[in-house]
Symmetry: C3
Subunit: 207 residues, 3 copies
């Protein structure tokens, strides 16, 4: 498989790490809601922070990213400790939603970009963006026994799909990578932001 | 790993795609029952339609089948759209059960056949048939928070095990592949058909 | 990836198989509690007995261990049959807890050792020990729809973390492998034993 290094080289690494950290925090907070121990905080933070990227890497046949890179794992463990040590009122759901929106949009673009770099075709690459952005949260919900984010009507998966789809589409049209990444991430974030601010949801099925 | 291409070449491709489409439909219908959005329909259809085959490919060390082949993904997305656009009464559970029975039997044989082609020993290959046939539905149930198909007394996993086991056993005995595949698939379908028609179940455990 | 064969060669194989068998039994017993059929017993036994090691192998990029080795699969299927055929009172939860404690400690050390042998760095290798020891049980709980072992306050994941962490730490310090493995496994077992005997738990989070 040809690895198109420039694509990944141009994706800012701190965005990747910020996404991991935000998802890890949401995992630790799920452990806090369930009144768990510090070890469980760490387990949830790692599973949520790395879960989406891990599934993406397994699907596209890449080495699992956090096996050889200590920073992702360290970021998850630090977030677990931070949530454990600080008063819960510091972590307001509303504030987290906004961080999570940044992580979701950046992560969806990053995931699609990595898939393209591994020679995955466009449609699947966009889907890998969605998997990267959303599956950490799904794993968290299944582990915690909470209703999955998938089943809430609010726009969430759709924002990831918009970010990843725009990025892949613009790349296909020949738009420069940083521009395509920026447009995709901003559009995905904006859609999720409207959903948070106005409770916007897609129409649901009525048989 | 030696890839025995003839085995796969002789397995009719349309059966594989039909199995994916039927499972994708059952995933979209789970989303419909939960009154979800079109994006969630697509997510459920893809996870259910490709889940069993994806797990099989990861276990046997094969490239994940739908990463380089657009037809599987397209079939899942089309089924999601079809369920979304049509009245729910068109999709009667009873009718779906029968399609699902065809998919289960065909998929179990196909999964075992692919595992054999990748050099997996007989016992594990038969188990890969069961994984291919059943795990899409298990993933769907876990995502939707419904009681897993695994826990219903009706014969289901057993039919997949019969189809895959017969196919592998006959192949070991030197029976020609298309014959072994046909006998396995028909036997698995017949067992599941009796289970649907008569509510047949295996004896359950009583301590 | 350099495979450091001596590490694995020195890990007693019967410990590995014993861990698989104990976890398989706990899976079959979950099926028994849910009054399932023999086929479901087998499915649960295989998923629980091989689940943790399978996830570890996928994460570290190793071939999935039970694909080419019949003994692990045979051990799982035999345990399913044993639980099916014997009166449930033979399988007292308390007795199983003690077997499980042995399996957890041995498996955590074995998993970390295999990860080191595949060139995984220390922190991740210790985490792979935890994954190997705990994820079979998590998969069992999710499949059975029971509250996950992760969410019980009793010390469990922590014992696996102690066993794997001590083993990796001592190995880094140059301690001979069999000694490091023994110390790690005994310490992890001892911690879990105190947890079982006294109901010991870690402090939980109180916002």
């Amino acid at each position: 498989m040809p690895i198109d290094a420039p694509i990944l080289a141009q994706t800012p690494e701190w965005l990747d790490l910020a996404g991991i950290a935000v998802f890890a925090a949401s995992g630790a907070l799920a452990a806090a809601r369930a009144q768990q121990t510090l070890v469980t905080f760490a387990f949830f933070a790692v599973a949520t922070g790395t879960g989406g990227g891990t599934l993406r890497d397994l699907l596209i046949g890449a080495p699992v990213f956090w096996m050889q890179d200590n920073r992702a794992l360290a970021a998850c463990l630090l977030m677990a400790l931070a949530v454990w040590l600080t008063p819960v009122r510091w972590w307001r759901p509303r504030a987290l939603d906004w961080f999570d929106a940044v992580g979701l949009a950046a992560y969806a673009v990053y995931g699609a970009s990595k898939a393209l770099a591994f020679g995955v075709p466009p449609l699947q690459a966009a889907m890998m963006g969605v998997v990267t952005g959303c599956c950490g949260g799904i794993i968290r919900d299944v582990l915690a026994g909470e209703p999955s984010i998938l089943l809430r009507p609010e726009i969430y998966v759709t924002a990831a799909a918009l970010a990843a789809g725009l990025f892949v589409g613009l790349t296909l049209l020949g738009v420069a990578l940083p521009v395509a990444a920026g447009v995709g991430a901003v559009a995905g974030f904006a859609l999720r932001a409207v959903a948070i601010a106005r409770g916007l949801g897609l129409p649901t099925y009525r048989g």
